[in-house]
Symmetry: C2
């Protein structure tokens, strides 16, 4: 990853739908399956290439390391799996975001990736960096929900968009991680209500 950032970053500029995009899709799908099967510590580029039906030199040339592979996977999933809602209402946007995030994080393949990444962070600084980049990007994208609510006057300026999103998603993800069970709809709604009441109260106090 750190040794080879240009290669990972060049991927999105390739022609979408072409051979290169199909290779990437096959390789990332195989990475998910390998992570679920053997975990991060035993992940090898050779076995991912075999499972994807791609020549190993193609895989080594394009990604170079398993850290780059997992980072590319996380960045691709970050933008693909959970689009950012834009309904015109902070509460509705956060509800949709939270429901989709719970559904995504509790799908068996994604849950395996997340647990594999979290277990390896202490032993692997490059994986920690990839995890950080993933979360930063995700929080920056989702933060648009709060920024739009500020622009509409629903929420006072000065609130930290990232922390608002983390306060919605944190308890839901943590429950899933700790218990292995996805939180229920009523719990999702309760957390969203609590956070919306908290940020919109600041607006009213300021007015």
């Amino acid at each position: 990853l750190a040794a080879n950032p240009a290669k990972a970053r060049s991927a999105p500029r390739r022609r979408p739908g072409g051979r290169s995009a199909r290779v990437r899709e096959a390789v990332l799908a195989a990475t998910v399956q390998e992570l679920a099967a053997v975990g991060y510590s035993d992940l090898s580029l050779e076995s991912v290439a075999r499972r994807a039906g791609v020549h190993r030199t193609t895989l080594f040339r394009r990604w170079g390391s398993r850290e780059a592979l997992v980072l590319d996977l996380m960045l691709e999933r970050a933008s693909r799996e959970v689009p950012v809602p834009d309904t015109g209402s902070l509460r509705e946007d956060l509800l949709q975001l939270a429901r989709r995030a719970v559904a995504t994080a509790s799908s068996p393949d994604i849950e395996a990736v997340v647990r594999a990444v979290l277990s390896g962070i202490r032993q692997d600084p490059e994986l920690a960096e990839a995890s950080n980049q993933f979360w930063d990007k995700r929080m920056s994208l989702d933060g648009a929900i709060v920024e739009r609510a500020v622009a509409r006057g629903e929420v006072a300026a000065g609130v930290n968009p990232r922390l608002v999103i983390e306060t919605v998603l944190g308890p839901l993800h943590l429950r899933l991680l700790v218990s292995g069970n996805a939180p229920e709809e009523a719990e999702i709604a309760h957390v969203v209500d609590l956070v919306v009441d908290g940020v919109t109260r600041r607006r009213n106090d300021a007015a």
Copy 2:
């Protein structure tokens, strides 16, 4: 664990400060060190016994399985490491709770235990049950903060104490898990303010 619940549960009724309590302390400390060194999947009662300087039959008789050992460790830590604040103010109680929870969870030995447990839950239903029991107990103890705020009239009855605590601790624990870095004091205070504003607003709306 499921095969032998009476043994794990009998531990707290033994005379505190006696030989039995010293053995438990040594064994649980050795468990933490072994988890940090080899992870949960390679944890063995034999190596814990060796590290603790305790005969392996003592350890097998009292705990019986590594699930029972990790559960006893989590229950002991749950009540020992993070006492429940009672300052007379919801905001101050939650601030103190959040600061202590972050300090505890980011200490290297506890962080190793948490990452080991979370990585093993999908492969091990008994570990999942232990993790659930730990978190249920912790949230039930911490929920007293919210119950006292309801009794004082700071917060409307009907709020879910557990979800309030999870909404404070969730984003902070998640940040630590994802990034490997503990959230800063300003971020802790921001999350607490958001949640306190949310729950006390309900009180004011209801009044």
